[in-house]
């Protein structure tokens, strides 16, 4: 099992959610977050006082998937969240040791 963590632009969340539904993903976790990469921040100006805002608002999307679904999920997110411009975000794939569905106590792939 893998945990796919994608950092994407906030306005791409709906597209990503739809694309994941189409490839059969039935659940996900979404967090509003902040960060920066190559896009850097932006500047804000209040009565002449200039502030550089380093951290930009982003969405962190987490999906736990079976090993054989990983490529499909990653490419769905990549396609949905891409604008071709700097600041589109990143996808991290990590190994997942165990998954438990709390209601039934099921574990492993059955719990996904």
């Amino acid at each position: 099992m893998k945990l796919v963590t994608a950092i994407i632009k906030p306005f791409k969340l709906d597209d990503a959610r739809e694309a994941l539904s189409e490839v059969g993903v039935q659940g996900m976790t979404v967090t509003e977050t902040k960060g920066f990469g190559r896009q850097k921040g932006h500047t804000e100006l209040y009565r002449g006082a200039e502030y550089v805002v380093d951290f930009l608002p982003k969405i962190k999307l987490e999906v736990a998937v079976a090993d054989d679904k990983v490529d499909e999920v990653v490419s769905a997110i990549t396609k949905a969240a891409s604008t071709g411009k700097i600041g589109d975000g990143k996808i991290f794939v990590t190994d997942l040791g165990q998954v438990v569905r709390i209601r039934t106590g099921e574990t492993g792939d059955d719990a996904l």
């Binding site: 100006l45 209040y46 009565r47 002449g48 006082a49 502030y51």
Partner: protein
């Protein structure tokens, strides 16, 4: 501003006795004969409008510009000042400001600077006592709202770092030593120092705005910069409050300026018109200058420009015409923009919410230009023989007097308080935020 009032004062004792006599023999016909219901109705409304300027107008305007951890502290300061000044005004404020005992036209004496205590606790105000054509109770309440907003303006200069207890003591002393004498010298009638100089200050360019603006500058220098200024970002936490506050200030200001006619007449009408013109023009002036200098027109910019216009038209609103108002607006918007952005950074003081940059600078621009645009040539209501040069010199002299008077006395008050009780919260408390530290509350519990 109050020629009517001063003329009346000379007859006040006699009239008061008469009225009291009537009240005894025939309570049902006790109303003074010269009461004008139109004037009275307008002045009651104007009083409410000026109160609206401080709470919630100024309160929201300032609260939006501070960081979220200090939002309540600013609102609390404005609200507490509203209450404190009301009480001071009753106890001795109204008397020190407007008691004309001992004033002699053309003579400089102690009573040219400050009034006596003859009307302490408003002992002389009754249902029947009059100021011109309105009840004295209405006039005293109207002026009370001016005594509320002037110290409240200073809050913006030391926002986010002053001790609440020291702030209350400072405001009590400041209003007593700086504000009440300024009111007396400018508005209390013939024999007042600046009145006799011939100053034109219709609604409070020197008395209110330069006075508060200079006190703000002195206060922010003596308290010192906020921790982290100017390297740490301190962006406004909610500019929607600020634009709502500026809008309420704008609406309330019609009470401030048009109400200063103390009548429902042509002067009040023209004050209303020129106030609208100067405010709109100054807002655009700030917006376009900022657009050119910084690349984008900002919400904080247009709101600040509007307030700058309101400030600058204040001394002029009783004597200039529409053309003068347009030009005062242009000058105030651009002038205050440079003061609040470049001057502040060049000089390095931390006037948190630009009390000096907007109120002192806008007030000075307005006070001096009043001397120009009151001229009939510019559509003002000056007499045929009005001399621009002479009046401008009187205005400049009055501005300099106000700057020095309030600057020196504010510095002395703060120096004493610094020694006696300390001006600032501790560094640790400042980082935590004044809402929790001073009031055990948070503005936002999401």
């Amino acid at each position: 501003m109050k020629r009517l009032f001063s003329n009346f004062l000379s007859q006040k004792a006699l009239l008061g006795a008469l009225v009291a006599f009537y009240a005894l023999v025939a309570p049902s016909i006790a109303m003074a004969d010269d009461l004008d219901t139109g004037d009275t109705a307008w002045m009651i409304v104007a009083t409410l409008l000026v109160l609206l300027m401080t709470i919630p107008g100024l309160s929201l305007f300032y609260a939006g510009m501070v960081r979220s951890k200090n939002v309540l502290s600013v609102m609390m300061q404005c609200f507490a000042i509203t209450c404190l000044m009301s009480v001071i005004w009753v106890v001795y404020g109204y008397s020190l400001a407007f008691d004309a005992t001992g004033m002699v036209e053309g003579t400089v004496n102690f009573n040219s600077i400050v009034g006596g205590l003859g009307n302490a606790f408003m002992g002389a105000i009754t249902v029947d006592s009059m100021t011109g054509t309105i009840p004295e109770s209405v006039f005293a309440t109207f002026q009370m709202t001016f005594a509320i907003i002037t110290p409240a303006l200073i809050v913006g200069a030391f926002a986010e770092r002053m001790k609440f207890s020291t702030m209350l003591v400072f405001m009590t002393l400041w209003v007593t030593i700086c504000y009440l004498p300024m009111v007396h010298m400018v508005w209390a009638g013939p024999g007042g120092l600046l009145w006799d100089w011939g100053i034109i200050d219709f609604a409070g360019g020197t008395v209110v705005h330069i006075n508060a603006g200079i006190a703000g500058l002195v206060a922010c220098i003596m308290l010192g910069k906020r921790k982290g200024y100017p390297t740490t970002p301190m962006p406004p936490h909610n500019l929607t409050y600020t634009i709502i506050g500026a809008s309420l200030l704008w609406v309330g200001w019609f009470g401030f300026n048009a109400g200063s006619a103390v009548a429902s007449n042509g002067t009040a009408g023209m004050a209303m018109l020129v106030t609208q013109i100067a405010t709109a023009t100054a807002a655009l002036s700030w917006m376009f200058v900022e657009w050119m200098k910084h690349g984008k027109p900002s919400v904080l910019g247009i709101a600040s420009g509007a307030v700058a216009g309101l400030v600058a038209i204040t001394p002029a609103s009783g004597s200039v015409g529409p053309q003068g108002a347009l030009l005062i607006g242009v000058a105030a918007g651009a002038g205050c923009f440079f003061a609040a952005t470049m001057l502040k950074r060049a000089m390095g003081y931390d006037d948190s919410l630009d009390v000096f940059g907007v109120h002192a600078v806008g007030g000075i621009i307005g006070a001096i230009l009043t001397g120009v645009f009151t001229a009939p040539y510019w559509g003002g209501s000056g007499a045929e023989d009005f001399v621009i040069g002479g009046q401008v010199w009187i205005q400049i002299k009055s501005v300099l007097f106000t700057v020095i008077y309030t600057g020196v006395l504010t510095a002395i008050i703060l120096k004493v308080l610094d020694v006696v009780m300390g001006l600032r919260v501790s560094e640790e408390d400042e980082i935590e935020g004044l809402d929790i530290i001073s009031h055990d509350e948070r503005g936002y519990n999401f």
